[in-house]
Symmetry: C2
Subunit: 349 residues, 2 copies
DNA sequence: CTGAAAGCGCTTACAG
DNA sequence: CTGAAAGCGCTTACAG
């Protein structure tokens, strides 16, 4: 039994069924123009032999792939795993396989991963990781993707990229504005913004929204402290510690993703800083756990799974003359981690 | 530019470099036995043309694939996304691509997904979803996997399966026992167990551990109420509501994964049931957010990312005469959601 | 060190 | 409706 052979091939089922491989191929593919009885026989023999067509041979001969690629920063991150989940659900319905790559927010890794996907001749590539504000950084990836598109490949991105492709656009600026307005409306005047690097368009756009809201309120955006750290839970912890040390009069932390907000919450809990009594904390994204934190996190909701699905749907359509823009609708979700700014200030730390 | 052609082929770079495709292939593969200067020329031309070898042609001709498959129940679930993250990290280091499938805990979907992976002639398949207690349910998948292994494919599973392959085994029984002992030690006598279907080996094994601890304490395991629901956050919410209605004297909920525990916590918060004052709640897995919940969740820690890595590592080794068993080490993590059973009982709900 | 040729396992015009 | 044959783009013995 342990034949070390690569399983039955089309020719094996053809022989078993007493037909040519052409007919066998057609019968299995469901191509019309095969006598039903013959097709049936072929299928039966294929089943009996446990025949599974070799995708590589099929793709090479047929020219079209049934696999799509997804590029994320980190699949362990809920933001991306929820996007992946939605995308995978649609892929499944469409009979497509999914290849996932992660980049760790490193542009060179991204280039490598895109190359791999191109090498696999996937039908479509969805780039879900944030874009980079500097078009130069994305130029090599763009070249690769352009070539891919010229060869008939389809591309869609989530977020603002300089990639010239169909895009699903989260309302990052709008969200930043809404959250900041919310905090300002609660009387907060010493708000510290905490985020990943502004070279990421996601950060840049959310931050721009925050600044716009601050300006709208007649205040000076440049006076709002901005703390940068890894765009992760640990990054949030780092920043929270810096706030304790460097911004003793702050009354609110506006984190530009939920991960960082969660990191902040945990430090504040450890250090006994009451949230929201002494310090309000807000996030962005509304990952599944946001509502189950305590205090439940005020944040800006993005429908991640839907965004993943939408991105794949764009990538599955024929290309448009101009890149398509699919605008995502988000919403402010007010929960328990934000409240009116305290009247008198307990010192921090 | 929009030539709709499939990008440069090996023959294009061979021609450009003035060599045969055999030499070009060797130069690009780094096969020894090509004059260094020639190899260099080939590589330069490949770069200039933006050549990316067609994986399908390469796999078909070469016989070995550089892709591995991962089967999970649901990629949006942190348990699986953390496993995927660890596995992907190792895959990356090994220059392997990753194809992900999800099954939604449906054995038929699992069979379909495994078939797809086999069709892709992946080098290895890692099944990360829980096994099923009834060997019959897994029989079709096992047949498929056996055939795959006979053809030289490698298989590894996470959890107890009837799949006859290398396995990474989480200490499910041990963990169940540790958690139950912890709760019993705190004086809880009315513990409600909350979990997904015991047809899943994960549930069955954790439950067996719980029952063993109960028996060890001289109590009757059959007297411990077991509530079944979807093995998800929503399932946890469902069960919590039933506890409120049907088990008014319970003092502890022992959920067999963190997701369900999180669902319970949210219902108890909504209903004003103090945790852990009136009700202790414990989880299992220790997903990243467990420590950031409030109260921080007492749970049994499993190193998910490491498990993903270990599973892939097993799958990358040559097959052993007997299936390998890699035992995972876990540990009880006592946090704030569990405490001594209340002396006097406030009615629930 | 290099090349001509066979072959990987399919699909798809092209004839019949 | 069916089959013989070309071809997808590579790798790898086999000669030289």
């Amino acid at each position: 039994m342990a034949t070390k052979e690569s399983g039955p091939r089309l020719i094996d089922v053809a022989r078993a069924a007493g037909v040519s491989i052409a007919t066998a191929s057609r019968a299995l593919a469901g191509t019309p123009g095969v006598r039903p009885a013959v097709a049936e026989t072929v299928r039966r023999h294929a089943d009996e032999l446990g025949y599974v067509a070799n995708v590589h041979a099929r793709t090479l001969a047929g020219g079209h792939s049934k696999t799509v690629g997804l590029v994320v920063h980190e699949i362990g991150d809920p933001y991306f795993s929820e996007i992946a989940s939605g995308l995978l659900r649609l892929a499944d319905r469409e009979g497509l396989s999914l290849q996932i790559c992660h980049t760790g927010r490193d542009p060179e890794a991204e280039l490598r991963q895109v190359r791999t996907l191109v090498a696999h001749r996937v039908a479509a590539i969805v780039v879900a990781g944030s874009g980079f504000d500097d078009p130069g950084i994305e130029a090599p990836v763009r070249r690769e993707l352009d070539r891919f598109a010229e060869g008939g490949g389809r591309v869609a991105v989530i977020g603002r990229h300089h990639l010239g492709s169909d895009a699903v656009l989260p309302p990052n600026a709008e969200g930043g504005r809404a959250i900041a307005a919310h905090l300002l409306g609660l009387g907060h005047r010493e708000i510290v913004v905490v985020a990943g690097s502004p070279v990421l368009t996601t950060v840049a756009d959310r931050l721009a929204g925050v600044r716009a809201a601050v300006a709208d309120a007649g205040l000076d955006p440049d006076a709002v402290p901005f703390l940068e750290g890894p765009f992760t839970r640990d990054g949030g912890r780092e920043c929270a510690r810096r706030i304790l040390a460097e911004h003793p009069t702050a009354t609110a932390v506006l984190a530009l993703n939920d991960d960082m907000a969660i990191g902040c919450l945990s430090v504040f809990r450890e250090e006994g800083v009451p949230v929201p009594g002494r310090m309000s904390v807000t996030g962005f994204d509304d990952v599944a756990v946001a509502m189950d934190l305590s205090p439940a996190l005020t944040t800006y909701h993005l429908p991640m799974a839907q965004m993943g699905e939408d991105a794949l749907r764009l990538a599955l359509q024929d290309p448009a003359p101009e890149p398509r823009r699919h605008e995502v609708v988000g919403r402010l979700v007010t929960r328990d981690s934000s409240a009116v700014a305290p009247a008198t200030l307990e010192p921090l730390g």
